[in-house]
């Protein structure tokens, strides 16, 4: 007897049959209200073939020191002990501790003049993800939710959530629970809740669902269309659809050969997250964020950055190679950024403190022009040329995905919110051929 005897039968049935068997009696009444997965997300829209289809956001949480990674200033007063190395992109020099990424740089572009006014982690992280400042009264939707809405579900598997967030969680914001990210805590165990528990077969699981439908009935009747209960049915339905073997398999990293898992970094949660991101892109998921926290180096900056650079180097270079090898590079925008940089001044604990005045962002893939350096910093201290704010970064990503960044969406109270908050923002022209 196979451990999950349900899987085989799932594959035999068509999606509709499976759903109907899961619904239970009661005269064909829909289980918790919904049937078609396309109702769950926005309808997929016709996509221009030469535009990007997915986004991978690599989020360096805590404020990655730009001076010790992407904008090194070896030998200068504030440069610290790290040396710079040449990359395969003309004229771009990065930290010696990112050698493999340096080899891939001919496929990437570098923005050296990111800037904002936010010194605080939460506020800066929120700003970079949503393009808005924190408000006490409501939550804005992240770029991921917006991408999920405008690009629609994966064309390869509509049961997949269009927006997946690995290692970092976000609220849905004003676009509602439909476009909330699917949160994965640890990539290595991403699929553990996508399979029926051990010892419970397919038939028993269906029986459980029938019982659930019955016991839920009276409460549902008491609170018809109650706004607080709104997302409940959608979440359960989306969950059931994700349990289908073909969909659940996407999250199963054991499906990858060991040599691939090792190439991303066997013991690195971030590395395995990048591997999962590649699998998700292959299956057509629209926006994947993978977080690597721990860059908040107020103490022991150099030791920490060196260690983290190793992990980052391995995972990101493998990810880029992998996406290129599988012909996914031109349809996937990859961004690597942080909420702010770190102070040129080295403090008493051998650390650097928060510095939003200038920092660096890497962007590549998705048909964007490679090898460009956008903007410059004055030895890593201030913006010397071409300040780039979050609005321009978001507009660039939208342009690559063919989303109109000047459009607005309405919150439940009827307030309009622009996709890109900054009215003067325009995509970075140098990145488009």
């Amino acid at each position: 007897m196979s451990p999950c005897q349900g899987c085989d039968s799932y594959q035999r049935m068509t999606r509709r049959q499976w759903l109907c068997s899961a619904i239970g009696a009661a005269g064909g009444a829909t289980f918790l209200g919904l049937l078609d997965p396309r109702i769950l997300y926005a309808a997929p829209r016709k996509k221009k073939p030469d535009r990007a289809q997915s986004v991978i956001l690599l989020w360096m949480g805590g404020g990655m020191s730009h001076l010790d990674t992407l904008d090194p200033q070896p030998g200068s007063e504030f440069g610290g002990p790290f040396e710079g190395i040449k990359t395969t992109a003309d004229g771009i020099v990065i930290s010696q501790h990112l050698p493999r990424i340096a080899k891939q740089f001919k496929h990437l572009s570098l923005i050296r003049s990111m800037t904002s006014n936010e010194f605080d982690h939460d506020r800066a992280t929120y700003l970079m993800h949503t393009g808005y400042q924190v408000l006490p009264s409501m939550k804005h939707s992240t770029l991921g939710s917006i991408t999920a809405k405008y690009l629609g579900p994966s064309p390869r598997d509509a049961n997949l959530p269009p927006y997946v967030s690995i290692g970092i969680d976000w609220a849905a914001g004003y676009l509602g629970p439909k476009f909330a990210p699917y949160y994965v805590g640890a990539a290595e165990r991403a699929n553990e809740n996508l399979v029926v528990p051990q010892g419970v077969g397919e038939r028993r699981f269906n029986d459980r669902l029938k019982l659930l439908s019955e016991f839920d009935r009276s409460f549902r009747a008491k609170y018809p269309r109650h706004p607080v209960l709104e997302g409940f049915a959608e979440h359960y339905n989306a969950a059931l659809l994700m349990m289908r073997p073909r969909t659940a398999k996407v999250f199963d990293l054991d499906d990858e050969p060991d040599v691939v898992r090792a190439a991303y970094g066997e013991t690195s949660g971030f590395g395995q997250g990048c591997l999962l991101a590649r699998r998700l892109v292959q299956s057509g998921v629209r926006f994947i964020e993978v977080a690597l926290p721990g860059w908040d180096t107020h103490q022991d900056n150099f030791e920490t950055v060196k260690a983290k650079s190793g992990e980052l180097d391995m995972a990101v270079s493998t990810l880029i190679e992998d996406l290129r090898a599988k012909d996914l590079w031109d349809q996937t925008v990859v961004i690597l950024t942080s909420e702010f940089g770190r102070t040129p001044n080295i403090n008493d604990n051998q650390g650097r403190d928060h510095w939003p005045r200038v920092w660096s962002t890497v962007i590549g893939g998705g048909g964007l022009v490679a090898g460009q350096v956008i903007g410059a910093s004055d030895q890593g201290r201030e913006v010397a040329d071409r300040p780039i704010r979050v609005g321009e970064l978001h507009a660039t990503i939208c342009q690559a995905l063919d989303i109109d960044w000047t459009r607005s969406n309405k919150s439940p109270e009827g307030r309009p919110f622009r996709v890109v908050n900054d009215h003067s923002a325009a995509p970075i022209a140098e990145l488009f051929a």
Partner: protein
């Protein structure tokens, strides 16, 4: 003539020197120059001090709607004025569940309900509230609540593990006055292994700026975060005021005291223990209301000033938080945005409750009892929430009012992470378990990312942002397929079903009824009982009873507070 020219030149030179020196000093400290002296004095968002006189309780005649205590007088008076109808009272089952979840964080067990229904109908509900407030689970539940506010972390460098949690738990268990234990937290002295309260300050390494933001937001309900670096363009708190508040903490230094050898498995790890010392001379605090204390300008003064009877914030913020927790919304929203520019929905009731709190020696349980035994708390939850916002009539006020803002019905609320987890444990007889299936109070906070609690949304114990309240696909998957639920529903020797069967050899139908009472705090409908019985069949199939529990846990009804 020459004399005057010399005079002017001297002034000019002095002025230039002053500017140059000030700028140099400012740059050296890397701070923004503060020109706030030019701002008008007086801060339009400052609240009036809490007066000593109670607002008059309005006399109310409102048909069949009788007030149970003074809270209802205020609430019903407004509802009548706005020509709205309040909801009817909820039934005893709903009340039992709601009060239990709000006051002790778990659903009532069938045994508790049996006792509840034996009481006389008229006194049933108030006796139930008294019963709940006496349970040890009261301290467990509210330790998490106050832990969120005080950003309690299990591991604090320089303090023993879980020190602050122990302090809060003990204070709640003994029902110590709120102002007293807040004072103890702020003025904590000495070695960390002799005084658990020191963990509050050690958690932030005694950093004056971080502590200022934390204390003002949690205890005074004001957001000073932005004022740290600059004068906020639309808020009236100035950088000067921030520096003033921060000054109270200066001179409080955590210092290494000794090292303790802690055995973890077969390794011995040295764990530092710090002590808190004060250099009172360094402290130079200026309170945000301008009030002055004879206890100096250090931490003792801050504790004194915060807990003063007429402080505009302390008592009001506390009762507002308690009201918010029980009623789903505070009089002032958001609860940490107290300002004259953000007026409360019921200013007289807020002040009345604040004074009640102060006059009863800051007794938290007293306020909770008052709220829980009011008619307002016992109203039914709204079946349908009207989409249209109705305007206030007769008062000439054109502002629209959101439904529920008058507390004319109880909102339908989701259980939070701890309530869901602990209720599953309570319903399956595992609340006292010490293994990985344990109650929230036994877990170190913040829980690790893979923990059941994290999936449902916990505070990171770093920021004071409110918890997420919406569901997610992950939550559905966790409840359907996760290890936690699978393990919890297994029939173990201490499972209530086994216990009931052994004690009273109930029939299957009676067991089904008891199961519904245990999980959903109600009896099954006839149809539900039939379904359950036919599912279980005649045998003692453990798996069938597991499936019943699974289904009950995954209903909407289980996860919401009706």
């Amino acid at each position: 003539m020459p004399k005057r020219c010399n005079g002017y030149r001297t002034i000019k030179v002095t002025l230039m020197a002053f500017i140059v020196v000030t700028m140099a000093r400012a740059n050296a400290q890397d701070r923004v120059l503060d020109f706030s002296y030019s701002r008008p004095l007086g801060n339009p968002q400052m609240l009036q001090p809490l007066s000593h006189e109670r607002p008059t309780v309005p006399q109310i005649r409102f048909g069949n709607f009788q007030p149970f205590n003074e809270i209802d007088n205020f609430i019903l008076a407004r509802i009548k004025e706005e020509k709205v109808k309040p909801a009817k009272l909820c039934d005893d089952w709903d009340f039992a569940r709601r009060a239990s979840l709000d006051l002790v964080g778990i659903i009532p067990t069938a045994t508790d309900l049996e006792r509840y229904f034996k009481w006389n109908e008229k006194e049933r509900r108030s006796k139930w509230v008294d019963f709940l407030l006496r349970q040890p689970q009261y301290a467990d539940h509210w330790t998490i609540f106050w832990g969120d506010l005080l950003r309690e972390r299990d591991r604090v460098r320089g303090a023993p593990n879980g020190a602050l949690k122990r302090f809060i738990h003990r204070s709640l268990l003994e029902n110590r006055p709120y102002d007293q234990w807040v004072q103890e937290l702020i003025t904590a002295q000495g070695p960390a292994d002799e005084n658990d309260a020191t963990a509050y300050i050690l958690r932030d390494r005694g950093d004056p700026d971080v502590l200022t933001v934390s204390v003002t937001q949690s205890l005074l309900g004001i957001q000073l975060k932005c004022a740290q670096c600059h004068d906020h363009p639309t808020d009236w708190w100035t950088q000067n005021q921030f520096q003033g508040m921060s000054g109270f903490w200066r001179g409080s230094r955590p210092r290494p005291y000794r090292t303790e050898e802690v055995r973890v498995g077969d390794r011995v790890i040295p764990m530092p223990i710090f002590r808190l010392e004060d250099r009172e001379r360094r402290a130079d605090g200026i309170f945000i209301t301008g009030a002055v204390s004879e206890l100096g300008r250090g931490r003792k003064a801050l504790a004194d000033l915060i807990t003063r009877r007429d402080d505009p914030f302390f008592a009001r913020v506390a009762v507002n938080r308690l009201w918010n927790k029980l009623m789903g919304a505070g009089f002032v929203m958001p609860v940490d945005n107290f300002s004259a520019l953000n007026p409360p929905s019921h200013p007289e009731l807020l002040d009345w409750l604040a004074l009640e709190f102060v006059d009863h020696n800051y007794d938290l349980r007293h306020i909770l009892r008052l709220i829980a035994t009011s008619r307002t708390y016992q109203q039914m939850s709204a079946r349908r929430v009207p989409k249209l916002v109705r305007k206030a009539s007769d008062t000439g006020d054109d502002s629209a009012r959101a439904p529920g803002a008058l507390f004319e019905f109880m909102p339908l609320r989701r259980m939070n992470a701890e309530q869901i987890q602990d209720s599953i444990l309570a319903a399956t007889g595992r609340y006292r378990s010490q293994n990985w299936l344990r109650a929230s109070i036994l877990k170190p906070y913040p829980p690790p990312p893979r923990d059941f609690l994290t999936v449902f949304g916990v505070s990171d114990r770093e920021t004071l942002l409110p918890r997420p309240t919406t569901g997610s696909v992950q939550q559905s998957l966790t409840l359907m397929n996760g290890d936690f639920v699978s393990a919890a529903i297994r029939i173990h020797p201490d499972h209530p079903l086994v216990y009931w069967d052994r004690q009273s050899s109930l029939t299957s139908a009676q067991l089904v009824d008891a199961l519904f009472a245990q999980f959903l705090t109600r009896l099954p409908t006839i149809k539900e009982r039939q379904w359950a019985l036919s599912y279980v069949g005649l045998g003692q199939n453990e798996w069938a009873w597991e499936d019943l529990q699974w289904a009950l846990i995954n209903t909407r009804e289980f996860q919401y507070i009706r």
